[in-house]
């Protein structure tokens, strides 16, 4: 499906991650496949428990027991991330694929100067650079994320939330990865700061010529930030497509209800929640995981799990392809 103009940066195939508990396996990610195109911004949106963060962590190979990657492939250039040894993966992190974790602002070491923490990351991957050379690199990185190079001398408590978030970003991109995964990078920030941190992230992305996976639950943020959006529900990718079409004409009933539940500045005193609750991942319903809440469920929905199929295709470009995992959409319409 790789078109001429759509070089693939990262190809994820049939990713499955389960958490093994005493009560059985929790199917956190169940057969997720998608291609991240070079230079694009792909959003992964979903509610808590939909598997979006687990997907991100699996691509970084940071799943801890009782979690386990059951199957799947993640091809990044010559590397198949899921089959690398632990040491190979350690080297690939930051250098090829990097994560800006949720709450990165709270992950900084409080008793270490910011500059030293950035230098630490570089030293863990590269032998040698020290002294003046390292200082120059750290200050370049700080300017890249739009911080004053003097910030290097400061401790995390001297910085605001937005500034700490930028430091986290500087650490993540210190080794110029091709793929940056940002997991809710601004969810703890105020709305005004949020926009500026995202602007910085995308400028850095441009500078590095990297592709970004933006993980989150905020549809508004996704609408304003990404090129393509994947919607996750109960561990599965249920819809994938260009963000504008996805929001304007959602294919999957879940996407449609989710979009119409969003508050807008056009309607007052009108609320459209989605009735029901997300299913248990321990004992998911038979068939489509959304069928108990779906207003359009048909006979097959209760028995057969719909796969993610192409609904709108274009041979030239994967960028405009639309896919949905729903029995209402089987077959290609263009």
């Amino acid at each position: 499906m790789t078109g001429n103009r759509s070089r693939v940066a990262l190809s994820v195939e049939d990713l499955r991650v389960h958490y093994h508990t005493e009560r059985g396996a929790i199917r956190a990610v169940e057969g997720v496949s998608f291609d991240l195109l070079a230079g694009e911004r792909l959003g992964l949106v979903g509610e808590s428990g939909s598997g979006k963060t687990t997907t991100a962590m699996a691509l970084m190979r940071l799943i801890r027991p009782p979690g386990r990657i059951e199957s799947g492939r993640a091809q990044l250039g010559d590397l198949e991330l899921l089959s690398l040894s632990d040491e190979q993966m350690r080297q690939a992190r930051f250098a090829h694929i990097s994560l800006i974790p949720q709450g990165v602002m709270n992950s900084l070491n409080p008793v270490m100067r910011v500059g030293a923490q950035i230098a630490d990351t570089i030293q863990a991957h590269e032998q040698g650079p020290g002294g003046e050379k390292m200082r120059a690199r750290v200050s370049d990185l700080l300017s890249l994320v739009e911080l004053d190079p003097d910030t290097a001398q400061m401790y995390p408590h001297e910085l605001s939330g937005g500034m700490k978030q930028r430091v986290g970003m500087a650490i993540s991109v210190a080794l110029r990865p091709q793929v940056i995964i940002a997991d809710e990078p601004t969810s703890a920030l105020d709305v005004v700061v949020q926009k500026r941190v995202m602007d910085t992230l995308f400028r850095v992305q441009g500078e590095l010529d990297a592709a970004v996976i933006l993980v989150g639950h905020d549809m508004g943020l996704m609408a304003q930030c990404v090129d393509r959006l994947g919607v996750m529900y109960a561990g599965r990718l249920v819809e994938l497509g260009p963000v504008q079409q996805l929001l304007e004409q959602p294919l999957h009933p879940y996407t449609r209800l989710l979009v119409s539940s969003l508050p807008s500045l056009d309607r007052r005193g009108e609320f459209r929640g989605i009735p029901g609750l997300p299913p248990s991942l321990l004992d998911p319903p038979a068939g489509c995981p959304f069928h108990p809440r779906c207003p359009e469920a048909i006979d097959g929905c209760t028995t057969k799990i719909p796969g993610l199929t192409t609904v709108v295709a274009d041979d030239d470009s994967a960028r405009i392809e639309r896919r949905a995992a729903c029995h209402l959409h089987t077959g290609v319409t263009s």
Binding site: V191, G220, L247, L258, S261, L262, G273, P278
Partner: protein
């Protein structure tokens, strides 16, 4: 002026100034707000973290006494209420907090959180009557008793827990519910459901709501009037339609532009009507905590360091709220010719009552 149910009159709240702090933090500076007694209203208090919105909520709930100014319930200052009067206040003004995970005792079934307030405030009810009251309360927020009662908090979702907190507040027949970020920790698909249950109890049970939030879109959706707070000051107050659709204060303008709307036709950073932002809008230094507390002490406008329209007067005096339009006031030197307002007039604007002139 009409009789008020719950009112904040020029309340100021300072924190710190103790042994280790060099300076005091003014969390709320002379805020006035009123809920009328004759009709239920929904008032939103919006602002970023550190704006003082939660402090104002805690003042309204009587959880902390103001440094100066007063909180009045049905015309009587809280600190002058007698024991039974205070009991009535505590029953009729209820709170719903942000975190649906932290407010439950994990060792008790959720029934406990619902039964305790009922038996405390309505000791005359029989066991069956209490049960009926609880089930009715659960229905009002769209929960079924058989799916919630008898369970432990960890067996319920965040959305269910938050609705149980709304139920708990409802059980006491309140006149006011102060909801502090009730949906910020709840998933998108359930957010609308919770806001809807709040809105419904406002409509059906004539309960006034004070909705504290950082999210202007849900504030717009739910409320009639809104107060925008910035670093302790109320910078704009009035009819929600006017404030959100045509903000007057440069800070409100910045906030409205910064909302990431789920609409790809509206670019982030533009006004909702498509006007591009002024070139410096939103620029200015990202403040460190230190800068924040320093700005707190200077006499100027707290927004002066970030404001694209900053003038000399902004550095010298902090503007007070003036009536920029019928039904709305803003605290900004750009509108100096507009008529000044008394605390009473501001309080009236806060619930959209008669125009403040």
């Amino acid at each position: 002026m009409s009789a008020s149910l719950l009112e904040a009159r020029r309340v100021r709240m300072e924190f710190g100034g103790g042994l280790f702090e060099r300076q005091r933090l003014v969390a709320v500076q002379g805020a006035s707000l009123q809920l009328p007694a004759d009709r239920p209203v929904v008032v939103a208090i919006a602002g970023e973290s550190g704006s003082g919105k939660t402090t104002l909520a805690r003042l309204l709930l009587g959880m902390i006494p103001p440094t100066s100014g007063s909180i009045l319930y049905q015309g009587t200052e809280l600190k002058q209420l007698d024991r039974s009067g205070y009991q009535v206040f505590r029953r009729q003004v209820q709170a719903v907090f942000q975190d649906p995970f932290g407010v439950f005792n994990p060792f008790y079934r959720v029934d406990h959180s619902l039964e305790l307030p009922v038996s405390k405030f309505f000791p005359e009810l029989t066991r069956d009557q209490r049960r009926e009251r609880i089930e009715e309360g659960l229905r009002a927020v769209g929960l079924r008793a058989e799916e919630t009662l008898g369970r432990y908090p960890h067996q319920l979702s965040g959305g269910q827990r938050q609705r149980i907190m709304v139920t708990r507040a409802l059980l006491l027949d309140p006149k006011v519910i102060v909801a502090d970020e009730p949906v910020s920790m709840v998933d998108a698909s359930l957010r609308a459901t919770i806001l809807e249950s709040l809105f419904r109890i406002h409509r059906e049970r004539n309960i006034s709501l004070v909705y504290i939030t950082h999210d202007l879109t849900t504030a717009y959706q739910l409320s009639h009037t809104i107060l925008i707070m910035y670093r302790g000051d109320v910078v704009e107050v009035g009819d929600v339609e006017q404030v959100i659709k045509a903000p007057r204060h440069p800070y409100t303008q910045l906030l409205v532009r910064s909302i990431p709307l789920a609409d790809t036709k509206r670019r982030w950073g533009e006004d909702p009507d498509g006007e591009p932002a002024p070139s410096q809008g939103g620029a200015g230094p990202e403040t460190t905590e230190q800068a924040l507390s320093i700005a707190n002490g200077t006499g100027g406008c707290p927004f002066a360091d970030r404001c694209p329209h900053v003038m000399a007067s902004c550095q010298q005096t902090n503007p007070s709220l003036v009536l920029t339009d019928p039904g709305r006031a803003a605290a900004c030197h750009l509108y100096e010719e507009a008529p000044a307002l008394s605390a009473e007039q501001i309080a009236t604007l806060s619930h959209g009552g008669t125009e403040g002139t």
